[in-house]
Amino acid sequence: MTVLQTLVDAVALGLLYALVAMGIGLVFGVMRLVNFAHGELLTAGAYALLLTNDMPLAVGLAACFGAVVALALAMEVVYRPLRTTTPTTMLVTTFAVSFLLQAVALLAFGARGRNVGVLSELNRAVSIGDLRVRWVTLVSIGVGALLLTATALVLARTDVGLQMRAAAMDATTAQLLGVRASTVIRFAFLLAAVVAAAATVLLTVQRPLVTPSYGFQLVIPALVGVVVGGLDRLVSATLGGFAIGFATAVLGDVLPADGRVFLDTALFLLVILVLLVRPGGLFGRTRAAWERV
């Protein structure tokens, strides 16, 4: 396999992790909450696509976005009483919510996966010499860039964006100045949900078999990416997600076939090295005061 083909596959995986990391980073920025149940947003969206498999694409997409947004807003309501508790309590609660939702999916849909057939034609490839670039990779680049730009614009150019940035820097002072914490946090969940729904559509194209742990499998590496990139800023968290996906795919190609069982070992060795050298994250800033979202 050519180096270029490896890089293309690495970009595709990196973009997927980046979109998940972006959603996690958005919520962490304003609420200081690492939402382990973020993966269940993806699972909910995937099951919505599954249930609307035989309906027109627009209906499926609407169901997907609707399910993810509804679940995200419900999560915000569940997490609301936790705002004043310790980070440990919040973390454990998100784990509990994640496992609860996986159990609900297991009871509702069973353990055996079911196939989503939405937009499967995006798996087809464009050939450039020996290089095969799948349409889904190209679409992911476009969607990723669009969502990151749109999020940046919302944060920079709108009132609610300004309030989010203020709350992310200093929630107490922001509240004293009239920023409504509930509104800001709800909006962060909403944005995270939109990004998660977009990621779900792209994910189901590449991994069509939906199971109760569908999204959870993606959250762990994406979260590692958020930490590696730098928890403190949305951009660094997103880039961290991309870096983890990219490194995973490259290692998967570089390691010999009988050594790929050690892929996670090699990956986490890299993560440890990065955090030893740059404890604030690969793309994090060293300045004490700056904006988190």
Partner: protein
Amino acid sequence: MRGTTRWSLLLALVLAFGLAAAACGGDDDEGDGGEAAETGGGGEATDEPIVIGAAVDLTGQMAPFDGPAVTAAQIQVDKLNEEGGVAGRELQLRVIDHQLDPERTKSAAIELIDDGADVLLVTCDVDFATPAVQEAITRGVLAVAPCIGTDQMGPERFGDQGKLAFSIGNVAQDEGAAMAEYAIDQGWMRAATATDNVIVYFQDVVKAFAARYTELGGEVVVEESWTQGDGTIQNVVSALDNANVDVIATSTAFDDMPAMVGGLRSLGNDTPIICGWSCDGNYWLPEGTDNFYLVTYASVFGDDPSDEVKELITAMEEQDQAPGTGGFVTGAAAIDAIAAAVEETGGTEGEALADAFEGFEGLETISGEISFSEEFHSVFGREYRVMEVQNSQPSFVELRAASSPAEIE
């Protein structure tokens, strides 16, 4: 006082002797046909039912495997009882759903054995089954998994006590060998292998394929591997797409299976893919899947060559338990094998049943002829259903038994 004590002692000794003699006489009477407490009493005659306990998962991720196997087992139990039972005794199946919780798995096994289970059925994954298996074999009870597909269900994993552990699933060495022999017969002489490292069964099937394939003159020109869920399946797809081979051999399941097959076909790559039982069922097949082959226990698509298997499927459908893969038949075959062992030994003593299992060579069951040995406590020699998938529709092609299990490291 001293004289009185001496007489009292003598009287006590006489009484004790008399009681002991009476007790021995009582034993003799029961052995002549009284009600013996039947707890694995080898060849003792009894009218008590043979209790088969099942500590299985009917809720969690093993439910798609355990559920159909237990349903099929119950149907086979009912059928044998209608025919007069086994060795004149009724069969009973008692089921506890442990939901894959290790503590609950162990407590389910304890409860079933304490309640008189003579044989224990366990879940179809050796790691999840281990707490129940250990409980059974340490208490001298035969443990049988319907569909574990490695050589781990036996002494290989459980040491000397593993003599009492068996699986009615095909051992991977046999399954991979059957895949390779079919591939060679099709004239596919250059192969790529794609090994999913997530479980030993997947790895062993591909190893067995490669071993038998090269023995028969085939050449494995590309060896790819990944671990389920590690995110690199598209790398594997790209590498396989570039391999100029006649066949791709794999054994995998879950999310990465449709990602690999669908990914290859979306790239316009129509190389035949051959897989083991793990790829059975149509629930995962991406739209337009062609040139896909697999070996499995039974066809659930209405074209199985065995009328008995078809009747079993119909009976399951009537219970709203239509099987998703051919693995269901191993539940009924487990009952057949247990019944044969009880008939042979005349009882339910674990060690004796294990000896009988190890001696089975071509034992006729609903799933076809099955064999075990001291080395393999999982099945070899069974006739596989070779299935072909065209346009995402699986259909039966032929029956094929491996000439022998392949030797792997």
